[in-house]
């Protein structure tokens, strides 16, 4: 009983931390984008205000059951992946549910949310949603390949499928995997550009083309759930990258510094880029990122 309470408490704390950090990152993204465009920009807490407003809107749209379930699927994905990913080294305040094989489990669960969203968006009957979903799934076929290759390379090299084991390898050898398997890191970071869906890979939401794509029929509370799930998921992904490649973090401040440094890559790459077409995006991911993934596997198998 005590153990269950301990895990529940840990889950709540992880969620609150992930939510607030993720939302702050999104707000900082808007601020930095504005400064790059020579604007003053919204305050960093603008996304908190947006979230409160969206949650206070009334909603009376009904297209069917799946439409209501779509945002819930995304939320479930974000929370489950957050619980599986170890947030800090040592796990004193953030107990989580990692186990042998959780890296493979993560590969599957991270795809679950977009698929649920695809079902939900399909039922709204909005043509923009349908186009957004097809674009999103094709793009996912693009960036999943270098991402899986990078992870498989790590699994081969260190003969483990557990995130905690990978973290321990780095702590024991004193070297981040970012330096000992550089090709895997390159492939994974390039795949991350697609996961975040910032420009030039923002073909799913594409406001001027698709009227925000899959969520075009979802306003108010649905958008609130999606926005919070997106922020939590962003934090979970960044933490996963820090865990695997940058040696994890001993306390929250180091974690925030490392995740923000990593978050700057898709953000700055996005601000300075226009938007790709779908086939350009997929071709980009099957080009250099997949090549680096292949090199990473060769390195892991030969050396």
């Amino acid at each position: 009983m005590k153990e269950i309470l301990y895990y529940t408490w840990g889950a709540i704390v992880s969620f609150v931390v992930a939510f607030s950090v993720g939302i702050t990152y999104m707000g900082l993204n808007r601020k930095i984008t504005a400064r790059v465009q020579n604007r003053y920009g919204p305050p960093w807490y603008q996304n908190f205000i947006d979230v409160i407003k969206l949650s206070s809107k009334k909603t009376s749209i009904h297209h069917g059951v799946m439409q209501h379930m779509g945002p819930a699927f995304i939320m479930v994905t974000s929370v489950v992946s957050l619980l599986v990913i170890p947030i800090l080294n040592g796990n004193k305040f953030f107990p989580n549910l990692n186990f042998q094989g959780d890296l493979i489990f993560l590969l599957y669960i991270m795809v679950f949310g977009p698929l649920g969203m695809a079902l939900g968006a399909g039922q709204t009957g909005n043509p923009n949603s349908a186009i957004g979903v097809t674009r999103g799934l094709s793009q996912m076929a693009g960036f999943e390949i270098p991402w899986v290759m990078a992870l498989v390379a790590l699994m081969i090299q260190y003969k483990t499928t557990s995130i905690v084991d990978l973290m321990n390898v780095q702590v024991e050898s004193g070297r981040w995997l970012m330096f000992s398997s550089p090709f895997a890191f390159l492939a994974a970071v390039m795949a991350m550009l697609g996961m975040f869906r910032y420009a030039p890979f923002d073909i799913v939401g594409a406001p001027q083309e698709l009227a925000s794509g899959p969520m075009s029929e979802n306003g108010g509370k649905y958008l609130f759930v999606m926005m919070s799930a997106g922020s939590v998921f962003a934090f979970a992904k960044l933490t996963l990258y820090v865990d695997i490649f940058m040696g994890g973090a001993d306390n929250l401040i180091i974690l925030v510094v490392k995740t923000f440094a990593l978050y700057l890559i898709p953000m700055l790459y996005g601000i300075t880029s226009p938007r790709y077409r779908t086939e350009q995006s997929v071709r980009w991911f099957w080009g250099w990122p997949s090549f680096f993934g292949l090199l990473a596997i060769l390195q892991a198998a030969l050396f």
């Binding site: 504005a34 205000i49 409160i52 206070s56």
Partner: protein, 181 residues
């Protein structure tokens, strides 16, 4: 406790603050007024620092910005868009065309006064209103929201029959669902 009057007051204050500082605008660019929106949103006047931001679809929007004249044909689409928006929602009439017809005062197929067909919360005067006046219009709307007086949507629901009669008078082929929100 949740239905307690005082706690409801606190919730109202927080919600009004959030609504006031996060305004997502659906700009319905019917007329020449649409050209004033890009400078308002981009680097020169930067409406985003006030929390004003473009929304992609009516489902996500809070404010419907009618920029310029409305022909009877576009009025039908505007009504459809307005009724798809979710509560609380506001309308800003932009330019003198929405107030009294402006330079189209004797045209046979534009409407003259917008608030006979839709509840308007704030008018922005001018032909064309410059981005400064657009921003002052948003500031006025923020004041109204904070005071809880921007209740156009409520008026629309209460006087639906009157609005419907007016709308059907100018729209000859009315094939629209009677519900919508």
């Amino acid at each position: 406790m949740i239905n307690d009057k005082n706690s409801q007051k606190i919730v109202d204050i927080i919600q009004n603050f959030a609504r006031q500082h996060s305004i997502w605008v659906l700009a319905y660019g019917t007329g020449c007024g649409a050209i004033e929106i890009p400078p308002t949103m981009t680097s020169r006047y930067d409406a985003e620092r006030l929390g004003v931001r473009g929304a992609a679809t009516p489902r996500q929007a809070d404010v419907l910005l009618i920029t310029g004249y409305l022909t009877t044909k576009t009025l039908k689409r505007v009504i459809r868009v307005y009724e798809q928006m979710q509560d609380p929602k506001y309308v800003i009439g932009f330019g003198s065309c929405t107030i009294n017809g402006g330079m189209y005062w004797d045209s046979y197929n534009t409407i003259k006064a917008l608030d006979r067909y839709m509840p308007v919360d704030v008018y922005i005067n001018g032909c064309m209103p410059r981005p400064e006046s657009v921003l002052s219009g948003f500031a006025k709307l923020q004041e109204l929201i904070q005071a809880g007086k921007a209740d156009g949507a409520k008026k629309y629901k209460e006087n639906l029959e009157w609005y419907r009669t007016n709308q059907k008078k100018v729209i000859p082929n009315w094939h629209m669902p009677e519900y919508n929100w």
